[in-house]
């Protein structure tokens, strides 16, 4: 097998946001290329482009020196490119064998599937991971019965069953335990030797150095470096991942003064929910606490638990009072507000007017029949405070740009005068100018004595804004950064699960 895949100057935007402006990558037979980048660097977009899931807006893909276009994921598969997702492509109600061989099962007479052959081939695949799975991972087990690590194994088996020339492992080790990862790497070595080209997308430093032959680093949608793994060390890799000069120079002044004087406002003890395995920490009144770490480490579950949207175990104390909110309404009554992570799906009523979105939590204040005039006045006030750019309050919120729509999501809580603000990645997909306005707003709120919990996938933002940052990794509080440790290198390293200089 002899194959080479190149991505040259790939451009991709989603609406107004540029995910990739200059993505480059080269991989050939017999090597493992580690594709590395921080949150928002564009690395998952690049692997989606290579796999045919998204269509590129600019640049070229070259397979064996020839330009290729993918019209669908199937087209990429037909050309020998296979990707392992994070258990996204399985059908839970169907069995392992059914999932792996869907739409290409071998058949005997009259269209009947050759079940024996299917089972045999599935067993062959499963045996690749012999000794690393706990339950009975058999061809006829429904996928819904499997724990996440074994579902991931099925995903891997499915991808490899196509006998691809190029295999993309996109964060495929996230759900696997160490034994399974070891086995996967043994298999990767075998596949390498058989002539496959492997792209390994990951944020785990240890694994990158274990398995990678070469590396490519993405930052802010551009490829900023590539070379042989043996020629670089962890420090330098991290340096490549961080922006040297940022567009953002916002720093909160006088953070340190306030830190020691205020009482504790929020106390979290042994909180457990979904992805959040166990966390305890305190927040002082008027503090802007940052929550860092890569996506999916439990940050969202933390915020949702405090807000009362999901069930959780553990204790929460608000202003000295024990609380256990079962519904966001209860949290609202105690002065808690949540700006959710996906504004289209969770933060806005897309087809309704800006006015209705802004006043949604607060209609009760306007009596019966609703005093619409007053609501308009109040809404206009909020819009002015936030410098909202809109055609009019009656326009649907879908007419707003990303940044302004996000202002509406925050704006609707300002009328409620919350004491604790929970923000789930509020500046995602927001332009730089609006971001600046947000930072000023949040800063002012803290000065007024409001407490803010702020999760962001943008590391600079966290560093510039927050008094302290707690970094979550694998559902736990990995490290707390403050004072001198509040720098980019420590943050990135902590996010990747590494140790850092000084700290908790």
């Amino acid at each position: 097998m002899n194959v080479s895949l190149s991505a040259r100057n790939i451009v991709k935007h989603y609406g107004g946001v540029v995910a990739l402006s200059d993505g480059n990558l080269d991989v050939k037979s017999g090597e493992v290329l580690a594709l590395i980048g921080a949150n928002g660097s564009g690395k998952s977009t690049l692997s989606k482009v290579i796999n045919g899931v998204v269509v590129l807006d600019g640049g070229q893909l070259l397979l064996n020196e020839k330009i290729v276009h993918f019209s669908s994921p199937q087209a990429a598969k037909d050309l020998g490119i296979s990707i392992v997702f994070q258990e996204l492509s399985l059908i839970p109600q169907m069995t392992v064998a059914e999932n792996i061989w869907l739409a290409r099962e071998p058949i005997i007479t009259a269209g009947v599937i050759d079940k024996k052959l299917v089972d045999m081939k599935t067993m062959e695949l499963i045996s690749l991971f012999d000794g690393t799975y706990h339950t009975d991972l058999r061809p006829n087990t429904p996928v819904s019965d499997l724990p996440p690590d074994e579902r991931q194994i099925v995903e891997i088996l499915k991808a490899i069953s196509f006998d691809p020339e190029v295999l993309i492992l996109d964060e495929a080790t996230a759900s696997l335990d160490s034994r399974q990862v070891r086995r996967l790497f043994e298999l990767v070595k075998q596949w390498k030797e058989a002539g496959k080209a492997i792209i390994f997308v990951s944020h785990r430093m240890e694994e990158i150095f274990q398995i990678g032959d070469r590396y490519t680093v993405l930052r802010n949608g551009k490829t900023v470096g590539s070379g042989d793994i043996q020629d670089i060390n962890e420090n330098d890799l991290v340096k490549l991942m961080i922006a040297e000069d940022s567009l953002l120079t916002f720093i909160r002044k006088e953070k340190n003064d306030r830190e020691n004087q205020q009482p504790i406002f929020l106390e979290i003890n042994h909180l457990r929910a979904n992805n959040l395995k166990e966390i305890s920490f305190n927040v002082k009144r008027g503090e802007l606490l940052g929550i860092g770490g890569l996506q999916g480490q439990g940050q969202r579950d933390l915020l949702l638990s405090i807000f009362g949207d999901i069930p959780f175990k553990g204790d929460i104390k608000l202003n000295g009072e024990m609380v256990k909110f079962r519904h966001p309404r209860q949290a609202m009554k105690k002065g808690v507000a949540l700006v959710p992570g996906d504004r289209a799906k969770e933060g806005l009523l897309y087809i309704r007017s800006i006015l209705e979105n802004l006043i949604l939590p607060s209609w009760k204040k306007y009596g019966f029949p609703l005093n619409i005039k007053k609501s308009i006045t109040d809404a206009e006030q909020i819009a002015r405070n936030l410098k909202l750019i809109m055609a009019g309050l009656q326009e649907p919120v879908s007419s707003l740009s990303g940044g302004n729509a996000q202002k509406v999501v925050i704006g609707k809580w300002l009328l409620q005068s919350p004491q604790l603000l929970l923000l789930d990645d509020p500046t995602k997909g927001v332009d730089v100018g609006t971001k600046g306005e947000f930072y000023t707003l949040l800063s002012n709120l803290c000065d007024e004595g409001k407490t803010i919990l702020f999760y962001s996938s943008d590391d600079e933002e966290l560093l510039g804004l927050c008094d302290r940052i707690i970094v979550l990794h694998d559902g736990k509080l990995h490290i707390e950064l403050s004072g001198d440790n509040l720098n980019k290198e420590s943050l990135i390293r902590a996010s990747l699960g590494g140790t850092h200089i000084g700290g908790v």
Binding site: P92, A103, E105, V112, P142
Partner: protein
């Protein structure tokens, strides 16, 4: 705790389990109320009555596995009944009968294809679409036969009434044929496609399953089964009535629910709905025989349906609470 988990597992993994138990219970009650139930004549009589519902429920199953629903089946049954009653008539010949039986099957498939076009290709919502088409179909049946009347040749109805191949009701053989066909389909790629689409449309699409065609085919099958049901019920009643299909839609959905095929698609087989139909039929039998006041009959039948529909929800509710 462990007991409850396995109960839940049982229901989801073997949907026919719950319905089998229910069927046995109802059978026993039936035997008490109508002691000669297992005699061939009664059995035959009962099965003939249940057969149209069984056929409808099977068709509905295909649609539901893929996450859809077909509210127009009642209308299709009515059309088939009116076609046969008007075109063949009481004095028709057996050849005419066969001819129009075939035409009916095609009509059913066409009606299903129309449904499938709107749902699979135009991507409209199944409930409201089949509600609208059902109304159109019912109207068409009324158009063909404004007043109850017409019929099919006595001979044909008699054959249906009295045929007992190998001493067993005709309906048994139909069920066996249906089960065989289902068993065959299950073992082909098409069978896997059905469950894939029902389980997760997007994943199925990513795995090169022809989702649109699969969904369309389920509606065509439902239409075809509705046509068979229409033929069966015409053979049963011997006459024509444009309103004949009206109550059958809800019954078919109830039968599928009793049989355990979840509304959200992705699980279930054909055995469950078949058992569900028989159970529903037996329940209605019990009611007739229990000599409940005629005035109460409608209400009791309706309550049974609501209870049957509510049962999975109630079980789930308690499952979730614990």
């Amino acid at each position: 705790m462990i007991k409850r988990i396995s109960w839940n597992l049982l229901i989801t993994r073997y949907p026919a389990f719950f319905s089998t138990i229910l069927l046995i219970v109802v059978l026993i009650v039936n035997a008490i109320v109508q002691p000669n139930i297992f005699k061939l004549d009664t059995l035959n009589g009962n099965m003939r009555i249940f057969l149209p519902l069984i056929l409808l429920a099977v068709g509905q199953t295909f649609v539901m596995i893929c996450g859809g629903i077909d509210i127009s089946v009642g209308g299709i049954v009515s059309i088939i009944n009116t076609i046969l009653a008007t075109q063949v008539g009481l004095n028709g010949s057996i050849e005419q009968m066969w001819k129009f039986v075939l035409i009916s099957l095609l009509a059913g498939m066409l009606a299903g294809a129309i449904n499938g076009f709107f749902i699979a290709i135009l991507r409209l919502q199944p409930i409201i679409t089949t509600y609208a088409t059902g109304f159109i179909y019912a109207g068409f049946a009324l158009f063909l036969l404004p007043n109850p009347g017409g019929g099919i040749p006595r001979v044909a109805a008699d054959i249906y009434r009295t045929t007992t191949p190998l001493g067993l009701p005709l309906a048994f053989f139909v069920i066996i044929v249906v089960l065989l066909i289902w068993w065959y389909l299950r073992s082909t790629r098409y069978g896997r496609f059905l469950y894939a689409v029902g389980g997760n449309k997007e994943s199925a699409y990513q795995s090169a399953v022809p989702v649109t065609w699969v969904i369309l085919s389920t509606y065509v099958i439902s239409g075809l089964m509705a046509a068979f049901a229409g033929i069966a019920i015409t053979l049963l009643s011997g006459s024509g009535n444009a309103e004949i299909g009206n109550t059958m839609t809800l019954s078919s959905i109830t039968a599928v629910v009793i049989g355990g095929t979840a509304f959200s698609g992705g699980i279930g087989g054909v055995a469950g709905p078949i058992l569900g139909s028989i159970t529903l039929g037996l329940i209605q039998n019990v009611i007739s025989f229990a000599q409940i006041n005629t005035w109460w009959e409608t209400l009791v039948k309706a309550l049974i349906i609501v209870v049957a529909l509510a049962a999975p929800g109630v079980i789930n509710l308690f499952g979730r609470r614990k």
